[in-house]
């Protein structure tokens, strides 16, 4: 079974080793934004011998090929996600660490405008909203 990421690896001339196949499958089925340790944990379930350094190397390679995107939210490890058809930004639930994706065309348009006004051409951006759930005023532990 060949998934989209494996196809992309082929297209970019990456050798399809067993380890990469596993990582590709994990990435293809991930609906969240796992960090390298989490990825390693997941692939380890299927191949307990795969090394953390291999996951690091593979993710770095996939990133430089533009197949995945690295997100460095505040503090801690970098997290990855597939480069999707649609660009989007992130809302991070500061109580649970959950990540919600969103997109707002108007904000994007204003960003271009702001950059131009400052004498620049916008190349990329990063927008993260840190927020707490509205309804439940759960007095949980902080952090």
């Amino acid at each position: 079974m060949t998934n989209r990421i494996e196809t992309q690896c082929r297209a970019h001339g990456l050798r399809l080793t067993g380890q990469r196949r596993l990582i590709a499958q994990v990435l293809a089925t991930a609906t969240d934004h796992p960090d390298v340790y989490e990825l390693h944990r997941r692939v380890s379930e299927r191949d307990p011998h795969i090394n953390l350094a291999t996951v690091y190397r593979t993710m770095k390679r996939l990133e430089s090929e533009g197949i995945v995107e690295r997100q460095a939210f505040r503090g801690g490890r970098s997290r990855y996600e597939r480069v999707s058809k649609r660009h989007h930004d992130h809302l991070i639930d500061i109580e649970t660490g959950a990540v919600v994706e969103f997109k707002n065309a108007e904000i994007e348009r204003l960003q271009e405008l702001v950059a131009r006004e400052l004498g620049y051409r916008l190349v990329s951006h990063r927008l993260e909203l840190y927020a707490v759930p509205l309804a439940n005023v759960s007095p949980r532990k902080n952090r």
Copy 2:
């Protein structure tokens, strides 16, 4: 000579040691967004014995007191800036690494809106624009 940051330290009950005075002065005169190594380099010019750990500890303390703000732009070390009267975001010149501050009320308003629509209350945000200068197509070194 007592500057604003020293006054703030007093107000927050921090002891005004020689090292902190130096760091406060460097911060007060900084117009850029230095990282801890750069801060250490600057204070070292006046006191070659000051330790890097001291700068780290001081900056961490100033951050927790809300006197400075930590910025972790893509990759590398964290950078600091004084908490200013006005909140603002950053545009990073990807050719030179220069940081331009800006503020756009409309974008802020839309952010609140987006969060609410997703069922959250916005606590804070981070918006970074990565851009290149418009006019001058300077073929300088990259990075």
